[in-house]
Structure formats: C-alpha cells, structure tokens
C-alpha cells in the first residue's frame, strides 16, 4: 500500500479552489479521484493566465496543483443520461466532495439526501461559504469572505486602517484542510460502524476555528482585537527592517533564556541584565524602548547578514522570505517542501510538496492534471456503458 487512501474512490463535483483542494488532499494520499466537469468549458480555473499580476507562462500551476492525478469526466447534469451516469459513479464511490451552492446541488439531484439513499456508506463532504443554515446560507463565498466575516482580517490591520488585500486561495485552502480532516473522521467512523454521513464546514467556520483564540478572548472580554503598531508589539515578538529594506521576524515570547541568547546573538550583551528588559514582564512594560533599540540595530546589516548570524541560534526567528527564494532555502530542500515535477510540454517545475510526513504510507505529488474530459469514455466504459450509449450521450451534449 503506497498511500493511506489506496483503493478509495472519490467523486469530485467541485469548482474553483475550496472543493478541488479537499479532493486533492485525498488524491495526494492515494485516492482515486474522478472530477466531474461541465462539458461547457469545464473547471473555471483551467482559464487562469495570471495570478495577482504574475503570469502563468503556459504552466497553470494554480489549476494543476489542485487537479493533479485526478481523472476528468465531463457530465452535464441537466441531461437525465448524465445524471444517471453520476448516480452509477456514486453507487460505487466512498466519498463525494462538492462546494457547489446548496440550491444548485438540490436542483441537479446531487444533494446529500438523494446520494446517501443511493449509497448509505457514502461520506458526503460539502464546503460552503457561510454554513448550511442562516440568512447567508445561499450567499456566495470566495477566498477572503471567511477571513472578513470572521474578524480575522480586522486583526491584521491597525485600528481604523484599511485591512490588507488577502492572498489568493489562502482562505479556501485553510478551509479545505479542515474539511479534509472531517472527511477522514467520517471515513474512520465508517470503517468502524459501516455508516456514511454528511460532513461540512464553511469558509466562515474554518476561519473562526483557526482564529478561535482571538474570537473567544474578544467575545468574553467584549473588547476587539486589532493589529498593533510596530512600537506597541513586544520587542522580541516583532518584525525588524534590515539595511537592504528586507525584514526579520523575531518570535520570542515569555522565554527568558531566549532573551539572554538573543542578546548574545545580535551583539547587545550589555543589555542582558538590564532590569528594563530582564524578565518577560519588564520587556513587555518597556517594549517601546526595546523596539527602538532593535530598530536601529537591525538596520545596520542586510537580511542575509542577519540570517548568517542568527542561523547559529535556536530561539524562534525567521527571515521574511520572498517566494522565489524558497527553492534555495536549505530547510525547504531538506524537507521536500518543494518537489520537482517534469511534465511534457512544461518541462521541469518546482511545486509545493505533500508537506505532511507519514513514515509508513507517505503521500506523493501526483502526475499532471487531466485535460477536460480526458477520462470520460474510459470511466463510462468501466461503469458498463457501451460505445453506442456513449456516442448517444455525446450527441445530445450530455458529455463532451
């Protein structure tokens, strides 16, 4: 067995980023994922040619990274023949993943009630923007809506300032991680009980969950939390600018042993026993003074000079990287956090790896994403369709 999900069949009826990322998590772990696409254009991300100003240059890595190793089958569920083919796939599937809106799923006859009747062992995974209930249940959700709706975005900006524009897909991928956890909880339960079920999370829910320490604290204190200004942040938990206008993140909290080590590392041994900065509480009290000392100090060397100095120390710190620096980062290389794929027509490209280590059943970055409808005929034949019925479906437009 090479991946933990070998032999598991997933029907993927997803679009954009949230749903596709969920089933890609499963594909990386060995599941056999069949992506159902509309014959009219297919997955919208197939058309991405630029991401926040960065061109894809012929390798649409955004699409590829969440469709790799899947099979593509075109089915237009508005046709009865296509719907019946979908039902046949569902009957023999273990998991169904979708992030279409709930009303659309009902209209197309692929809602939980319908599919779970057909296959009571099915784990039906649904990702939404806002939850299955409530006044916002039918509202679209997209990338940043969970971060905005949960209060997380506010926490990234100083009071009154414009919150930053959110990076693409980050919100979807975080929610997808949580839903993948839910899928495996349900699979584990099924293994022990024989029963499938519905598992769901939303962008809103996932963001409240990953920010729950702020949510719970703020709601209880009835006091909001904003980003702090540079001077207000703790001296040792802050981002400092370097001589070349780059940044170093220092992330030491309470640990007083790290303070001593830090003083030695950055060459301020004379402050080691300064009572203003002695125990954690003092550092916090005199944060402004410490920040201004460190502001001046970090400006005296470039980021790479600081990296060379700090590399010898094990207190928590990090360079603030640019993406293009990751391939030469020895830490990234040593852990296979980037892997090289070699695709016909694309050549070699470095892409993010599985990034979960499993000692006995490791996952793997799968082969190239499929062409639209690449596996339609193969999968239908496998379901027992003959060529005549496949051709009839093509002619009516139910498949491509």
């Amino acid at each position: 067995m090479s991946g933990p999900l070998e032999g598991i069949r997933v029907v993927d009826f997803t679009i954009q980023a949230f749903g596709p990322r969920v089933s890609e998590y499963l594909a990386e772990m060995g599941a056999d994922v069949i992506k159902i696409e509309s014959p009219k254009g297919g997955e919208p991300l197939r058309g991405v040619d630029v991401l926040r100003g960065v061109p894809t240059n012929g390798f649409n890595s955004y699409f590829d990274q969440i469709q790799r190793g899947k099979k593509s089958v075109t089915l237009d569920l508005h046709f009865e023949s296509a719907r019946q083919a979908m039902y046949k796939l569902v009957e023999r599937a273990d998991i169904f993943v979708t992030n279409l809106r709930m009303r659309g799923l009902e209209r197309l006859g692929v809602d939980y009630e319908t599919l779970s009747r057909m296959n009571p062992r099915l784990v039906y995974a649904l990702g939404t923007g806002w939850g299955m209930k409530g006044p916002g249940r039918d509202r679209g959700g997209f990338e940043v809506t969970g971060a905005a709706g949960s209060g997380v975005l506010t926490n990234f900006a100083e009071r009154g300032a414009r919150p930053p524009l959110w990076p693409p897909a980050l919100g979807d991928y975080i929610a997808a991680t949580y839903l993948a956890y839910g899928v495996m909880l349900a699979m584990y339960h099924r293994e022990r009980s024989g029963k499938g079920q519905l598992v769901h999370t939303s962008l809103l829910a996932a963001f409240m969950k990953v920010a729950s320490c702020c949510v719970d604290a703020s709601v209880y204190a009835n006091q909001d939390m904003y980003g702090l200004s540079h001077a207000e942040d703790g001296g040792l938990y802050n981002i400092y600018e370097t001589k070349d206008n780059r940044f170093i993140q220092i992330a030491v909290m309470h640990d007083d042993a790290s303070w001593t080590e830090f003083c030695e590392a950055v060459g301020i041994e004379h402050l080691k026993d300064d009572p203003r900065f002695g125990p954690y509480e003092a550092r916090r009290e005199n944060s402004t003074a410490l920040v201004s000392i460190l502001d001046e100090l970090f400006l005296t060397r470039t980021q790479s000079e600081w990296i060379e100095i700090l590399d010898r120390y094990n207190f928590p710190w990090s360079p603030v990287r640019l993406y293009t620096e990751l391939p030469s980062d020895p830490q990234v290389i040593a852990n296979d956090y980037l892997v090289t794929v070699d695709y016909p027509g694309v050549g070699k490209a470095k892409v993010v790896g599985v990034n979960i280590d499993l000692s006995e059943t490791p996952g793997m970055v799968r082969e190239q994403a499929p062409e639209l409808g690449q596996h339609t005929e193969e999968v239908l034949l496998d379901l027992g369709y003959d060529w005549d019925s496949i051709i009839a479906m093509k002619e009516e437009g139910a498949i491509l």
Binding site: Q65, P135, P163, Y173, M187, C213, V215, D357
Partner: protein
C-alpha cells in the same frame, strides 16, 4: 457510537498552541486525551494574562479552548519512575501528540523510535516549526515564523512596507489542522493494516501548503508576489470604506455575469449601460474609474446600512467584522459556530464550537480544562499503580 473518536486514547505531551490545538481537535470528536504536564510549571498557557491588548479576566479563553475535555497528569519526566509510568500509558494509547523539540524528546526518551518500539500500533504525531530535517530542525518556532519563512506574509504586504503581525496562534492552529488530518489518515490506515506510524507537519510546511497557489505560480514565473493597493485587484475584488470607517469586502470576480444585479444592489443603476463598464473587458480597462465611483458610493452609508442592503444578494461579499460582533451575527449563531458554555467560574460564555458539521457523529465542546495534575492519580491507578507507589512517586517529586 455517538462521536467518531469514541474509545480512542490520546497521550498529549504538548506545549503552547500547535500541539494542544491538534489534540483538542481529537478531544472535540470524542477521544480521551491525557495531557502530560510538567509538574513544576504546567502548561505555559495556564498563566496567560492577556492576549495582545485584550485582558483574560476570569475565563482563560486561550488555555480553555486548547485544553477543554482533557485530563491532566502532572509528571516530571526527568524521574525514571515517571518515565516508566508514561511508557505504561503508551502501551494503552492509540495516538501520541507532541510539539516539543526533537532534541528534548530524545533526551526524555519520548522519541518515535522508543515509543513505537513499545507500541507498534501507536500513531505518533509531531508538530515542529521547521521540519524533521535540515539546518533549522532544532530551531524554535512560534506562531508567525511559518508565515514569514514561507513568504505568505509577503503576499499580504505592499513592496517596501512592513509586513503585518499575524494574529496570535493563527499560524499554529492552521498547522494543527493539517496535522489533525494527518493523524486521521494514519488512524484510518491502522484500522485497515494494523500498523502505526509517525505523522508530522511543520509551521513552515503548512504555510507553504496553504499558500501553494502563490508559491507554485511565482516559482514557475520567476517573479514575486506582493500585497497590492486598493485599486490593483479589480473593483469588484476590493474592500470599501463605509461612512462609519468600517469596511465592506467585495469578492465578485471581474467577469461576474450579473453586472446589472450588482449595480442594482448598490444603487448605481445608471452605470448598467455605461460603455466604460458594461463588459468584463471594459471594466478591466476602466478599473480605476470604477474603483473611484465605488469608493465614493460606499462612503455614503454605514457598514450596517450596507449589510442590510447587500443581505438580499447572493453574490460573494462580506462585512469586515470585529470579533465581538460575531456574538450577535445570526449566521454565526444559527450554525452553532459560537456555542454557549457554562463555566464554573465565569458563568455563561460564548466560545467557538467544533465548526465542523457531521450528520451522524457530531463533535462537541468539552468540559472545562483540567486543573494541573487533576487526573494524575486516577490514570496511574487505572494502569495498575498502587497507592503506595503513587505516594512514593509524589514524595520523590516524579509527580505533583
């Protein structure tokens, strides 16, 4: 079976946020989680007095939400007797979760090789800052280091500006989510094969995973991605300031099919047929002009007035919330994203719920976090220790 992880025993040798959040995910789903705490100091989060500038008060939200429903054993692993007791517990456990540093785990005899030798069915889950290998493997890490090192935070920052400080625990909880998924993969595999294994995720690896669409695109293009200004990403995909200095996030992609619906929603019907904006191409061309019109329009009403208007529409948008507003958000309440618990000291408190819907085996918010060492004796008795032995261990300081 009422919860998916009923009957699963988890040993939790964790500190701060990453590890504790991982095992709390399991506790919410019915696992029995035994937290091993340092007999002298206990979990550091027990002593958190404020989070950013929000005071903790009599309800330690941060500690509670990572320790609810767990049992606590106070042990000093430097004593051989204490170590032997933990080994006995390992024999009866399904999952071991830790985020201590690798060197420390080896010194304490709690590394993977030792524990899997004792119990080959054990799923050993480890969270690190930087990975199991590489020059930084022994470096500490905390919350924001993964976001800095993966360049995620760079995508939130305009070129040359200081990156924002990430909200507390956000990076840890995101990584905990991926590790929880990994644990369920390993438990599923164990159910089918009988073998345990090591499962690992790091702050760095997870950050790269959730921002992989930017990483892969940038590496292939050889170009970096930064945060962008208000006008940069399209008029429909930006944040607008309201009359009361709050924000509304629009998440409508540029080719949104219902331009008419959007114009009607915000009261700009006059623009429907305006040649500058009536096609996706025209809107892209005249983006700056459209942003300026929308800037002015949104300043005309308060955020809550806009919410009332936009609530009727299903295109993706979101109010940029503050955390305290979640307590009254009907969408949050109807979906049980916040649930009310009755705390023995603080009374009724609203906290983030499991936020993962499961139709047959829902999770739940556990009971109050344990006192330090509350269950030490109970658990030692259960694994066969006599009261004499327990008292002897107390006398030598091996347990509290």
């Amino acid at each position: 079976m009422s919860m998916p992880l009923e009957g699963v025993r988890v040993l939790d040798l964790t500190v701060y946020a990453f590890g504790p959040r991982t095992s709390e995910y399991l506790a919410e789903m019915g696992a029995e989680v035994i937290k091993i705490e340092n007999a002298q100091t206990g979990e550091p989060l027990r002593w958190t007095s404020s989070l950013r500038e929000v005071p903790v008060g009599s309800f330690k939200a941060y500690f509670e939400q990572t320790h609810r429903g767990k049992k606590s054993m106070a042990i000093d692993l430097h004593h051989e007797e204490a170590r032997q007791a933990l080994y006995r517990l390992v024999e009866t456990s399904d999952v071991f979760v830790t985020n201590l540093r690798l060197g420390g785990l080896r010194r304490l005899g709690m590394d993977y090789d030792t524990l899997s030798g004792i119990n080959p069915r054990l799923v050993y889950a480890i969270g690190t800052g930087w990975g199991l290998k590489g020059p930084a493997r022994d470096r500490g890490a905390f919350e924001a280091t993964g976001f800095a090192a993966s360049a995620l935070v760079t995508a939130l920052t305009q070129p040359g500006s200081r990156p924002p400080l990430c909200p507390p625990a956000f990076g840890d909880y995101t990584a905990a989510t991926l590790l929880a998924y990994g644990i369920m993969l390993a438990l599923f595999h164990r159910e089918r094969s009988g073998e345990g294994q090591l499962v690992h995720a790091s702050l760095l690896g997870t950050s790269m995973k959730v921002i992989s669409c930017c990483v892969d695109t940038c590496l292939y293009a050889g170009e970096n991605m930064f945060g962008q200004g208000h006008e940069a990403d399209g008029a429909f995909y930006s944040m607008y300031q309201t009359k009361d200095d709050r924000w509304i996030q629009l998440c409508v992609v540029q080719d949104y099919r219902s331009w008419e619906e959007f114009c009607e929603a915000i009261g700009l019907e006059a623009l429907v047929d305006d040649a500058r904006f009536n096609s996706p191409e025209a809107r892209k061309e005249n983006n700056a002009a459209l942003v300026a019109i929308l800037d002015e329009k949104f300043l005309g009403k308060t955020q809550s007035e806009w919410i009332e208007i936009l609530d009727k529409y299903h295109f993706p948008w979101a109010p940029v919330r503050n955390f305290t507003e979640l307590a009254n958000d009907p969408q949050v309440l109807e979906n049980d994203y916040l649930v009310t618990i009755d705390d023995p000291e603080a009374g009724k408190v609203q906290v983030v719920g499991p936020a993962l819907d499961m139709s047959k085996t829902p999770g739940k918010v556990g009971s109050k976090a344990p006192e330090l060492g509350q269950h030490t004796e109970e658990i030692l008795l259960e694994v066969g220790y006599t009261w004499e032995q327990i008292i002897a261990m107390k006398d030598q300081g091996a347990i509290l």
